[in-house]
Amino acid sequence: MMEVSASSVSLREFGCEQTLLSRPDGSASFVQGDTSVMAGVYGPAEVKVSKEIYDRATLEVLIQPKVGLPGVRERSQEQCVRETCEAALLLSLHPRSSLTLILQVLHDDGSLLGCCLNAACMALMDAGLSMSCLFCGVSCAITADGRIITDPTAAQEKESRALMTFAIDSTERRVIMSSTKGSFSVHELQQCIAVSQKASEKIFHFYRDSVRRRYSKNL
């Protein structure tokens, strides 16, 4: 059984900018501490006949690392992000169309997958795509002495015993996707989920504030 001390759990400062690129239909950059990711969305657009689905849109996710060519790790992260987006987006509104989401890693200082999910959600909102719920990504790490920390930095991630990322939806705070690394007990898992749900409230609040600020001026 692990005791979680309230003082150790905090989220780094985060920031976001929307509509920063002129070509994509929707774009956003999300910053958590020093970790920054830029996301661009194109869609709904024409789809190749080989990839088309008759009743839904085809969602494609691409994650570009900063150094080198994308490898297997990027592919698995793309899979996680794609499954989350497919659960949240209303794909059946755009049959035989393609939605492309491109994420560019600008700096990686820990909780990269969580930051990618947040950037993706803001970009999809910016593109005006219909979603059944918003989602956010929260990363947790369990240190060697059993404490839970949210939003770990790269140094904290390296020394942790287990690392987990959860995608949480905005309507009922349920877990849409989870990606874990390392070993932990069932009790620790449930505690991390509860912590992530609490942390996600802050992030959803931030989404709301950003969008409210963005549309505060009527043209």
Binding site: E13, R23, I102, H107, H187, R214
Partner: protein, 427 residues
């Protein structure tokens, strides 16, 4: 994804405007768009905004073996990624013509001009040298990617610091950034490329074409120069025929522009250096514009966690126990062969040694030993008997065996029926 094609009226409008010396965004013929250069948190990361065209460059290094032909020189590697984010026409993974052209031009501009001292990148001659890799990612394509990429690449190279290396006789130690301060690369000069777009068979020229202007241009002239007025590379594409005076005029314009841009890069490097020395945080996060309505930033915040433990314990207690799964325990019939559970019966009726070994099941040691014994007998028998694959030899009647193997039946009485019958016939 396909890019939207340019309509005829747009094309005519643009050409007519250019003939009247007017540009879409109100610039003059020789004006550049606003250039913004910022640096990232780690050394070697540079963001360049040329109007709406945005690129990011990252420099990294690692120790590799040198090329055979040049054993005491370091290696430079350039890569421009045309990311699908920059334009719907760019596709991931496909080496389009534009991507090849840009890569080649950047290589010629930076590598062939010998702006970096590669000899200083040598650690142990013939064995270990530094390979410096420059990755340029395009984020938004609003025309003139080449210039933005060259500015980003040279600024990132000037910003980059490589780890310090100590050589003591035979021993080479690479120090981490915490142990010893990393040292900058030795750069002789900064080549920067300037692009000129030509219209109406070379009659009109524009500097720094935007995306719409690039679509209607006839040809492009790219001149890479440094601030000492030395031309590092010159390339003309599109098949336009230029007069000598035009090329001379362009090079004069280029030298003015290059000195302005070099000034900008140096200023940005200086600002970054002072900020780092003063201990201020640098990076993309810091350069997030605060005053804009589209940007928002919050501070570090605590997460309320009072009832987390209770919630977790509640969930676990209320959760149902998972259904018990009876999994067969793993068995090692032979060294290097592992098996979990019974395999399905092989109904081909072919006699193969591996089949017999694999199919052995047996959860108890003794039975396993017995089976192995029997197997060995069978295999020795099989070794004596010659079995050919020819179907014409004998007709073998397969008796359907039961799929559930009784525990004590032991080995591959799999094809017992068939095998035995075949053997009997042989014998």
């Amino acid at each position: 994804m396909k890019d939207t094609p340019l309509s005829n009226c747009e094309r005519d409008f643009l050409i007519k405007a250019i003939e009247e010396k007017k540009r879409l965004d109100g610039r003059q013929t020789y004006d550049y768009r606003k250039i913004k250069i910022t640096f990232g948190t780690d050394y070697g990361c540079c963001f360049v905004d040329l109007g709406q065209t945005r690129v990011v460059a990252q420099v990294s290094c690692e120790l590799v073996a040198p090329k055979e032909s040049r054993p005491s020189e370091g290696i430079m590697f350039f890569n421009i990624e045309l990311s699908p984010m920059a334009s719907p026409a760019f596709e991931q993974g496909r080496q389009s013509e534009l991507s090849v052209k840009l890569n080649r031009q950047l290589e010629r501009c930076l590598r062939n001009s010998k702006c970096i001292d590669t000899e200083s990148l040598c650690v142990v001659s013939g064995e270990k040298v530094w390979q410096v890799r420059v990755d340029v990612h395009t984020l938004n394509n609003d025309g003139n990617l080449m210039d933005a990429a060259s500015i980003a690449a040279i600024a990132a190279l000037s910003h980059f610091r490589r780890p310090d290396v100590g050589i003591q006789g035979e021993e080479v130690t690479v120090f981490s950034p915490e142990e010893r301060d990393p040292i900058p690369l030795s750069i002789y000069h900064m080549p920067i490329s300037i692009s000129f777009a030509f219209f109406q068979q070379g009659t009109f020229l524009l500097v720094d074409p935007c995306e719409r202007e690039e679509r209607v241009m006839d040809g492009l002239l790219m001149i890479a120069m440094n601030k000492h007025r030395e031309i590092c590379s010159i390339q003309s594409s599109g098949g336009i025929m230029l007069l000598k005076e035009q090329v001379m005029r362009c090079s004069k314009i280029a030298s003015v522009k290059v000195s302005e841009i070099t000034e900008l890069i140096n200023k940005a490097l200086f600002n970054d250096r002072t900020a780092r020395k003063a201990g201020r945080k640098c990076g993309f996060a810091e350069s997030l514009p605060q005053e804009r309505i589209t940007a928002l930033k919050t501070d570090q915040s605590e997460v309320e966690m009072t009832d987390v433990s209770e919630r977790a314990s509640d969930i676990i207690q209320k959760a149902e126990a998972p259904p018990p799964i009876r999994a067969a325990s793993p068995v090692l019939p032979a060294p290097g062969v592992g098996q979990v559970g019974h395999g399905l019966q092989n109904t081909w009726g072919l006699e193969e040694d591996e089949e017999q070994e694999e199919e052995s099941s047996g959860e108890e040691e003794e039975i396993k030993m017995e089976e192995e014994q029997r197997e060995k007998d069978k295999t020795t028998e099989a070794a004596v008997v010659e079995i050919s694959d020819s179907e014409e030899e004998e007709v073998v009647i397969l008796y359907p065996e039961t799929t559930k193997k009784p525990k004590n039946a032991g080995s591959s009485s799999d094809q017992k029926g068939a095998a035995a019958s075949k053997k009997r016939q042989k014998k």
